[in-house]
Every structure is written in C-alpha cells, then in structure tokens.
Amino acid sequence: MVRLPYSTALTTLFSYGLLFAFGQLRDLFRKIIDWFKSSSEDLKGYAPICLGLEDFYTRRLYLRIQDCFCRPIASAPDAWFDVVERYSEDSNKTLHRTSKTSKCLNLGSYNYLGFAAADEYCTPRVIESLKKYSPSTCSIRVDGGTTDLHTELEELVARFVGKPAAVTFGMGYATNSSIIPALIGKGGLIISDSLNHNSIVNGARGSGAAIRVFQHNNVAHLEKVLREQIAEGQPRTHRPWKKIIIIVEGIYSMEGELCPLAEVIAVCKKYKAYIYLDEAHSIGAVGKSGKGVCELLGVDPADVDIMMGTFTKSFGSCGGYIAASKEVVQYLKDTCPAHVYATSMSPPAVQQVISSLKVILGEDGSSRGSQKLAQIRENSNFFRCELKKMGFEVLGDNDSPIMPIMLYNPAKIPAFSRECLKQNVAVVMVAFPASPLLLARTRICISAAHSREDLLKGLEVISKVGDLVGIKYFPTEPPKHETKVYKVE
C-alpha cells in the first residue's frame, strides 16, 4: 500500500502544475512563431498527424528527461553491463551515441535467473540449433512452422507448469492480446484487476466482451462485483452472462506485489467463474523449484483454468505460452490468431527455453538450477530488508524480485537516475503513463547473477543518492551496534 504524505502530494502537484504551465507557455510561443512562418503546401488540407494535446506530454515533459530512458547497452544484460554514453547538442531533443561505454551494475533488466548472457549449458545448444534450423522458420505454425523443437518445448512447459498441455507463441504481448478474444466474446464478462498489464487490457478490448474492474488485490471487492454482475446480467437486456473470466497477474510488474491467489480461486469456484493467471514475472522466479505463484502460495495448478507466462524474464529468451487442459489447448491451436496467422517462434529462442528449463529442473545433470533459485530468493529478501531499514518506501511482497522505490516528485526522476549512473549503477525510472501521475517510482529488479558484493555496492550507492535527492520518507532504523549504553552513576 502506498502511503503518500500530504506535503509530498502538494509538492508533487505543484511541480506538475509548474511543468504544465511552462509547457503551455512554450506551446503558445511555438504557435505564434509558426503563424508567421507559412505552412508547407504538402500539409495543406490535412489534419496534423499528432494532435497537439496527444503529444504534449512527450514534447514538453518527456523530452526534458529523455536521457534517463532508452539507454543503449553494448554488452549482454548480465549483472554488470556496458552502458553507452550519449550526448546532446540541443538540450535533449536528440541524443547521439558515442563509442565510450561505462561498466555499470545492472538493477533494471528482467534477468531473474541469470540466463541473460551466454550460459555454459544453453549457448552451445542454441548455436547448434541455429545452424540446423536457421534464425527463423518464415512460416506460420500451421503451415510448416512447427519444428520438433516447438513440440518438445510445449511438452516441457506443460510438465513444468503442471498442466496437461501447452501452446507457445513468438511474443508475450501478442499471446495475451490474441488469446483473450479467442476465449470470450460478446455476451461474456471479463473482470480484471485494476493494475493489469496493457497487453491484457488490449486483449480484453479486442474481445468485445464487457469489462469490469476490481480494486487491486481486493478480494472482497471482487466478490462484490461478481455478485452484482451475475445478479444484474448483461447491460440493458439483463440476459445472463455467457461466461465470466477473472484475469489476475502472479506478480504485478509495477508494484512487485503477489496476488492473493488462494482467495481469488475460492471466490471463482464459489461463483463458477473461470480464472486466467498471467505469470509473466513470476514463472521461474518464485517458488521453491521455480514453478511460479502456484507453488509459492500452495495452490494446485489444476484449480487455475488458464495459465499464461512469458519466456522473456526468467528464461532469457522471447515468446509466451498458455497452459491449460488438452481440449482448451486444442481449441486455441485451431482458432488463436497468433498461432494461425503469425510467424512461429524463432528456433534458437525455443532451444534457449528448453535448455534453461532443463537447468531449472536439474535435468542437465547439475544443481545450478536450484542454486540459482535459492540465490534469487536470498538476494531479493536481503535487498528489500536493507532498503526498508534505510528508510525508503519500498513496495512489494517478500520473495518477489521486483522492488519499486517511491519517488513521487517529477524532478527526482532524472535526479535519481543521473546520480546513480554517475556512480555506475543503472536503474530504471517509471513515470506516467506506465504508473499513475503522482506515483513516480524507480524499480529495482534483482537477479540470481548478482553476488553479495554487487548488492552491497548497489545499496551503498542508492543510499547516498537517496540522501542527496531526499526520498527516505520513513525514519531510518538505527543499526544494532549503536544501542545506547547507560552509565550507572
């Protein structure tokens, strides 16, 4: 839960107001200057391609701090990587790369199990499959795009997740936005968490079903919405809903919170709704053997109707999957547009997932998988604990490798980012529109590849920069060895 002090809220609103006012003033000058200059003949008779209001945020706010985003890197996104230095000659409107790089600690990439860089088990096999199958199949899955690697991957994913069958796609975003329309259509109801990812929102809109939102992680509100909706039926006609699907995520990427899965499933079973679980960030990263939130929260995978996940985060590859019962998977293979119209997943990427799954399951003959899983859990809990002790406002639950630190004020976003980069720590800033306007934050992603020294260095730099920028909103816990000694007189 975010606890925003009144003084911070006021200063944040004031800052945004000031930025908005300045932006409007500059737009006014721009309009006056453009009025004097004649508009070119080509654009006469056309409405402008980007209306003034739509990219006001881009032009007047985002461009000022553009150097904090889209930083190019020159090496693999491992625990340490090379960030390319950039310079600008026109106050951040355009940025140019230099050939200089600086080695920075990576606290921003989704590299939960450390498979991002070349791995001793995975990479040789990936290169072998690249030479055998080429970088792409150039075909859709149903027309010559299914290789034996794809079939092997689907069986392995189904076994790993604990469901009877699975189907894989080339992109995680496209998985959500094309599966949801295949499962539900007009006359159905989707109840989704208020903080669900953009791909789920797009999929829900594309399906044509009615959409209702329940408060984030609030199971009581979910039950209330369900009861109301079943009792009322479809809007205007009051016919009963054809089916109801509840969509939640395992770990929410901007909050780092887990979803109360056991309670949500209890509610779904009571009211006969179907549940769709998006485990993009939790598969492979949480749970004793990396099997995701179901394992962590002690939920039977058979209770979840559809489990979705991506291979980008914990497996160091690309693509997404859906695991469900055999019939649902057969139906999806026949109707889902991402399966029937889009190019199949690249074979080397498929091999990377197969190899990393084998490492996690211990089927490569070593214990690296369980070591990595233990490492990430230990790293996450240690880092979160230390940050909280320092007085930062950290969101998220224990065991989750994502920890957002609240900043609030817009000026702290570039300040924090640039100061950290000067001290060779690369962090990620989350501002509007990925998070609400007043709740800007920086998001730390911990990896199994981080050693204890890396984490300590990161903590030291964040603490220093936090003092400089002023984001320690809570009182610091005094270190244990400084307890006062009372002299007995």
């Binding site: 409405a47 996104p77 990439s109 150039c138 990812h197 009792a231 006969k272 649902v328 190019t343």
Partner: protein, 403 residues
C-alpha cells in the same frame, strides 16, 4: 322520476344564479368587471392547491436481497470455456525436422517446401548464420527488457538506421514481432473520431489494429479502385482540417495474393487529402527492382506514403517487424506504440540477422531476377498443384497478375 330530476336541476341552477347575482359578483375591482365566473375560478385554484400538496406516487424501489442474489448466483450456469472439439481441431500440422528451406524433412522423408514464405532463399545463408552466432556469444538470446529500460542494444539502433537507409526514409522503428507492428501502429495514430478507409481483404493483424483504434472504419471492395473512389467521395466533408483520415491497404495481400495499385491510390489520396498506411509484409524484399517494395515497383517517391510497416518474417528470414516514415511518425511511436513500449525488445541476434539480410539484398539484386523467373514458370503452367505430405494435402493456387 323525470320530474324529480328536473326539480333537482332547477334547484341547482337557482343556486348558481344566486352565486352569480351575489353582491360581489357584480363588483368592479381595479376597473375590471368581475362576474360570476370568479367563484368557478376560485374553486379551481383551491382544487389545484390541494393537489399540489399531495405527495406524488413513485413505485417503491426494491433492491435485491442478499438471499435473492445468492439464489441467482447458484442458478447461473456458465458456458464451457471452449466449444465442443471437432475433428478439424484435432488435426495436427506436420512437424518439420530441419530448417524450413526449399527442401525440408518431414517424418524422415525429404519434401519440397511450398509453405514457407522464404522468398529470397535466405534460410541457411552462411553470412546470416555467422553474424547470428557472433551476436549470440556476445548478447545471449533475449534482451530481457523493454526498449525503454535497457533493452536497446547498439544492434537495434544499427538495424533501424540500416533499414531507414535502405528505404531512403529519415528513420525507422523496430518491433519485436511481425504482426505486432501493424496492430500497434494503427491505434497509435488513429483515435476515436478519425476516419479509416480499409480494404476488405486485409489480414487479421490489420483488422485487429483497426478494431483497437476505435475509429470509424469503412471498408471498400477488395482491390477495387472505383469502390475506393466512391467511398472517399462519400466521406469528404468540410471537417477535413480537424479529423485525421487514413487509407489502409496491404501492398501484397496475404489472403488473395493480389497487388494493390499504388499509383491509383496515391492519386486518390492527393485528391481527397487522405494519408496512406501501407502494410508491406509480403512485398518488402520481393517487389521492385532492388526489393524496396511497392513504391519502387510503381516508381512512386517514398515520401508520398505516410506510414509503411512490414514484418521481417518473410523475405528477410528473421523475426520482428519495422515501421518507417517521416521523423515525426517514428518519434511518436517511441512512446505511443504499445507493442514497442509494453513489450520486450527484439532479441539482438535477430536484429543482426535483419542487418545481414538487408546487406545481402542490397549487394545481390540478382536474387530477385531468380525469384521472378520461378514465379513466371509456375504462372505459365497456371495450375493447381497437389502436394502429398504424409496425410496432409497442401493446395497451392497461383492466381492473379503479378506483373
């Protein structure tokens, strides 16, 4: 009986006469003669006032009780998650056991592959594979992040610059999946209230983008310029300056194999002030003397087309997609293209493969001559080919003019 009624009536009339002859009845107030109707009016006003003081009747609101809601919830029966599985759904596609090149292996047998969109034969190309191996050893497989958060490598920026140079446009933007390029681009530029005129035969990706944009979409008959002109004529009105208007067409239609007549489309676009969004997934690397797509095929300067998108999973034998256009068009997508911002970036080795493929295409334009020769060979024969691959029959029908 009748006399009693008459008596009552006369008595009533006498009373009315008395009322009308009453002293106040003949009075003059403020110079106005008041006659007997004063009584009637006072009575009417008294009745009105009486009614106004009565409460109006509203049917009582009876919200459902908890028990009733419980009963409704128990009675409700949802449809099953999937419809009954038919025989067609159980059919598994053939699994290939080698690269999807011109010859591939299915169940141990070597077959000729007419199903892959490997137009330039780049599957198995040594240069591409070598550059991918170098990239894999350097970057690993995935980029593990979105473009906005450290998912941008030097290779991505180089790939965008290379494609822009090849197409002679200011800049281009890379998407991580071919089909996501078009369904991110359309909602980024078309909002509620805008007008889109699209061809009937566009593929699913374009249709999804049109649906997500929430604009007014009007379809015209597939590849029919007369139908397009009449649709544009109907939609022209004085509000052109305020409302954005687009024509969305594919260069080479995935579903029908026909080529869009770009010269007519550009002429109509300039006449009616529409912008053009051109989907070049199957024509990039195929049409034109050097493979630069439909604009080169018709000899039209590329500045006339506002937005060009293409998937790289066909001619370029890699994965992902790109969009190119003016600087403003590309910059806008860096924050507003949902498939760019909310998704992980393209794996670096695929970006490298794209650069190697474009280099190959630029250095070897003769590969297009070979492609055209093969196409014309099949077109001359003009047949319906039946290929037997295990138990699956693959129909390939070549039709429509390609020149």
């Amino acid at each position: 009986m009748a006399s009693a009624v008459v008596n009552i009536a006369t008595a009533a009339l006498d009373w009315v006469a008395v009322a009308f002859d009453a002293p106040f009845a003949g009075a003059v107030v403020f110079g106005v003669h008041i006659n007997g109707h004063l009584v009637a009016e006072v009575l009417l006003i008294a009745v009105l006032l009486f009614q106004l003081t009565r409460k109006s009747y509203k049917p009582p609101k009876k919200p459902l009780t908890e028990k009733e809601i419980d009963d409704l919830c128990e009675e409700w029966v949802p449809e099953p998650l999937h419809p009954p599985i038919t025989k067609e759904m159980k059919v598994e596609p053939p699994t290939i056991e080698s690269a999807a090149g011109p010859h591939t292996i299915i169940e141990g047998k070597e077959v000729v592959n007419f199903a892959s969109a490997n137009y330039l034969g780049l599957i198995g190309n040594e240069n591409i594979i070598d550059s991918c191996v170098a990239s894999l050893e350097k970057y690993g497989v995935g980029s593990c992040s979105s473009r906005v958060f450290y998912g941008t490598t030097n290779d991505h920026i180089d790939c965008e610059t290379r494609i822009a140079k090849f197409m002679s446009t200011p800049d281009s933007i890379l998407y991580s999946y071919g089909i996501s390029a078009i369904f991110s681009v359309i909602p980024a530029f078309c909002k509620k209230g805008d007008i889109i005129v699209a061809d009937e035969g566009v593929h699913w990706g374009v249709q999804n983008g049109l649906h997500l944009s929430r604009s007014t979409v009007v379809y015209f008959k597939h590849n029919d310029m007369a139908s397009l002109e009449s649709t544009l004529e109907k939609l022209t009105n004085k509000k052109a300056e305020k409302v954005r208007r687009y024509i969305v067409v594919e260069a080479l239609y995935q579903n029908s194999g026909q080529i869009a007549p770009l010269n007519s489309i550009v002429r109509l676009k300039e006449k009616y002030h529409f912008r053009v969004i051109l989907e070049e997934s199957h024509s990039f690397g195929v049409l034109g003397n050097t493979g630069r797509g439909l604009t080169e095929h018709y000899g039209i300067p590329i500045e006339k087309i506002d937005i060009i998108t293409a998937g790289m999973g066909n001619a370029l034998a890699t994965d992902g997609g790109f969009c190119t256009g003016s600087g403003r068009v590309v910059d806008h997508q860096r924050l507003n293209g949902s498939g760019y911002v909310f998704s992980a970036s393209l794996p670096p080795y695929l970006a490298n493969a794209a650069i190697a493929a474009v280099n190959y295409l630029e250095d070897n334009p003769s590969v297009l001559t070979v492609l055209r020769r093969n196409i014309s060979l099949v077109w001359e024969v003009n047949c319906i080919c039946l290929l037997d691959i295990t138990c699956v029959h693959v129909f390939i029908i070549f039709r429509g003019s390609l020149f």
